[in-house]
Symmetry: C2
Subunit: 477 residues, 2 copies
């Protein structure tokens, strides 16, 4: 491979166009715009070209050509990432390699409980394909209508079913990767057990496109739930929520598929700003848990939920609650949880966190973090909610009522700094499920040991020696 200096860019772009054709190239500034900014509009990038290959072979040819030209690449899926990994740098030195056209489901196998999908498949469509053969693809998250499998794996997406089914990583049996030199690694295995050398797939999963481009994956499927029972329960305090989680997991035979904590302010915001919501209980409480059981067995799940509830009320870990009587009621309960981000918007600026701690530390984390918030910015309103069953709290902070939005948001780094310190002190992480990207690159250096950073750098250098794969993401160049 001969590296040609970038000055030869027009030539490189012409050769890329020859590989993917006109419909695989976007260079019109207006057409490029939506690919160059993220949903929260925190990252705005530039690029000479958005390249949209339609096959793995096209991806490989483009990457090989980029390696020859020394041209850097930002891989991109549905552009729903929250940390900026999928947006090129403002300098515009990288092409964007968007994988949305690589979107075939190659295989669905209900007996092997697997689905083989290309990187550009939209998550909801993969879920639907699995459902067609009566199987569950359990990865589920707010962006599922537009996020894509390649991005889900590159960021090791989490979501609402992690408690029972694990992270995106845990659902993968095999992957196909285009390496930084353009060669294809076909690791598309469909095996539950395969102990043959280093587990390379886990290196590419969660690497945010810095080691290569995931072009397809074999994902595990599960029996489809036939019964789902949802309840909204008021708990007297955070420790009771934890006790309830432990008890529900045991008493349900591990059918607990969601355990979401919400504080009262989550309800206040939703009731105020989300049309069609109403308070499911007759009075207000400080803390709530949205609990869901599911099973592929039929019959008896409601009785299980009732017995969990009875016992919890007896032990004082639940003080009020309602079990959804039907799908519509369950959806209404979930709506309060799922619209949390939207419900916060009319309340002004909101500073976000995506932290995790060991499950037992969740109450202590919320207490310490809430105290910190009001010390740092008196009147600021902590909005804690999230997947407590996984120790994952989306600890958001809404601005004080009537405060200046921009001035409040300017405190974002200070707020993050303090909250991440608290999580870290409790054995936690500054990024539970959103990844690192550009947004949390400094935090990576702040919290990881030099040994760990060095290991990552050695791996990066070993697999992408030219440093052309998503440069400046996760690790500083």
């Amino acid at each position: 491979m001969t590296a040609v200096p970038i000055p030869n860019l027009p030539n490189a772009l012409a050769r890329i166009r020859a590989i993917v054709g006109d419909k695989g190239c976007v260079t019109d500034p207006e057409a490029m715009a939506p690919f160059l900014i993220d949903d929260r509009k925190k990252f705005l990038g530039k690029t000479p070209m958005i390249v949209r290959p339609a096959t793995t072979l096209e991806v490989a040819a483009v990457v090989e050509l980029c390696a020859q030209h020394g041209l850097a690449i930002v891989p991109q899926g549905g552009n729903t990432g929250l940390c900026g990994a999928q947006i090129p740098s403002p300098a515009g030195a990288e092409i964007v390699l968007n994988l949305s056209r690589l979107n075939r489901v190659r295989d669905v196998d209900p007996i092997n409980y697997t689905i083989t999908a290309e990187a550009g498949c939209i998550l909801a469509e993969v879920q639907a394909k699995a459902a067609e053969v009566d199987r569950l693809m359990p990865l589920s998250l707010a962006a599922e209508g537009s996020c894509e499998i390649g991005g889900n794996l590159s960021t090791n997406a989490g979501g609402i079913n992690v408690l029972r089914y694990g992270m995106a990583r845990d659902l993968v049996l095999g992957i196909e990767v285009v390496l930084p030199d353009g060669r294809i690694w076909d690791g598309l295995r469909r095996l539950r057990k395969d102990n043959t050398g280093y587990d390379l797939k886990h290196l590419f999963i969660g690497a945010e496109g810095t080691l290569g481009i995931i072009t397809a994956a074999v994902l595990k499927l599960f029996p489809r739930p036939r019964e789902v029972v949802t309840a909204l329960l008021a708990v007297p305090d955070l420790d009771s929520a934890l006790a309830l989680m432990v008890q529900a997991r045991e008493a349900s035979g591990d059918k607990l598929t969601a355990f979401e904590l919400m504080e009262r302010i989550c309800f206040d915001f939703a009731l105020r700003h989300v049309p069609g919501t109403h308070d499911p209980l007759n009075q207000a409480y400080d803390h709530y848990v949205l609990l869901e059981l599911s099973s592929s067995e039929t019959g008896g799940l409601r009785a299980t939920m009732e017995s969990i509830l009875e016992s919890a009320i007896e032990h004082g870990t639940v003080i009020d609650g309602t079990i959804a009587a039907n799908d519509a009621q369950a959806k209404a309960l979930w709506r309060i949880r799922e619209t949390q981000n939207d419900a916060q918007k009319p309340e002004g600026g909101s500073i976000k966190h995506d932290v995790s701690v060991p499950v037992g530390q969740v109450p202590e984390f919320i207490r310490r973090a809430s105290a910190f918030v009001t010390t740092l910015i008196p009147g600021a309103r902590p909005v804690a909610f999230g997947h407590v069953g996984d120790g994952n709290v989306h600890f958001n902070v809404s601005q004080p009522i009537g405060a200046d939005r921009a001035r409040f948001l300017a405190r974002w780094p200070d707020m993050n700094h303090g909250i991440h310190d608290i999580a870290h002190a409790l054995g936690g992480s500054f990024s539970a499920e959103h990844g690192v990207g550009v947004l949390k690159r400094d935090e990576l250096v702040r919290f990881k040991s030099p040994v760990e950073i060095e290991l990552m750098r050695r791996i990066k250098a070993a697999i992408d020696p030219q440093g052309l794969m998503n440069p400046g993401k996760v690790l500083e160049p």
Copy 2:
């Protein structure tokens, strides 16, 4: 770090003794002997010293010293591995670093559902510690009374609960590793979600000690089953076994924790050679399934099993069977499965395989492999059994009745070659759960793409540039 040539060995050994003390060094040939041969007596090694550190700091100091002296290290746990990864080379150029004294359980946390155990903890003891706080540590395999956690993780052990709980790898939240230069990477996280850079733990898990030494791990726990129901079912053919598996998984709400196939010959051998066994059914059948449901819920599991059985009989996928009425009966059924290796011994030489295929290909694999066996060696007797729910068949071959044992065993490589080819052609693997070690190093090269081998080599070079960690294992030096 200054590399000193090995001629300085006596000096290096003296310095190691200064670190770990006399009780941490074994040099007496008789005392060393059991550390230098594997259970099946296929690998016999030599070493100047067995080093037995008692703490992670001692491990780190020994490894750092070895790096300075250019002295290679073979990490070893309970010495139960089947592929020779834990045995030094016959040349005796490596020290053996045995981790059995590093055996404290550092933490058990029933709320976080985790246990933190050092590498030298015996698997059965970790299971027992978890049970003390009413939790399940699901990793379970034949060697659990003597195998150790460090070895379990270094070989990514499988076992009988993989169908429901995954491989050893899937049970790990964090690890502590002594790197080849003696530095400690503290990756002992207790988090369910932590998306902060490359997932390094999965690189060390399953690397068979070639990238560093796992000294401790945080393992996931689960609710402990309160009810277990076991059944032995006769199925008319292999395809019916598959259909039964799919149906049982769905109808039980994913409570299927074991699904083990056995052919008639397994029963014949066990009844003939294992004291106290008897045929659980009134007549002989060609194929059997040992099926186990478990749940942390109480009540109703037997009814679920009965309804699965009823429906299977109706569909013709089961033709006879028995459900264990109590623990003793369940143990008797498991005894036939668990004594398979012993039961084969009196039948003469046995050539072993540990292959996996996609679950739907299990019947075709067994048909093709059985046909191959009798073509290669007329009269040879295929003994197929194993974790069919995971696509993992322990396809063993007993010698023809009255044949010469040594002459039969001399065909081991030919037999392996052909059987591995058949598995590979069906999308399978030549090593499902036993790893590579020395035994299957050539098969690794035969079946992996050059791209994959090169990726492994680059990673090895990046993390262990001196090549001192378990040299010659997994990858050729």
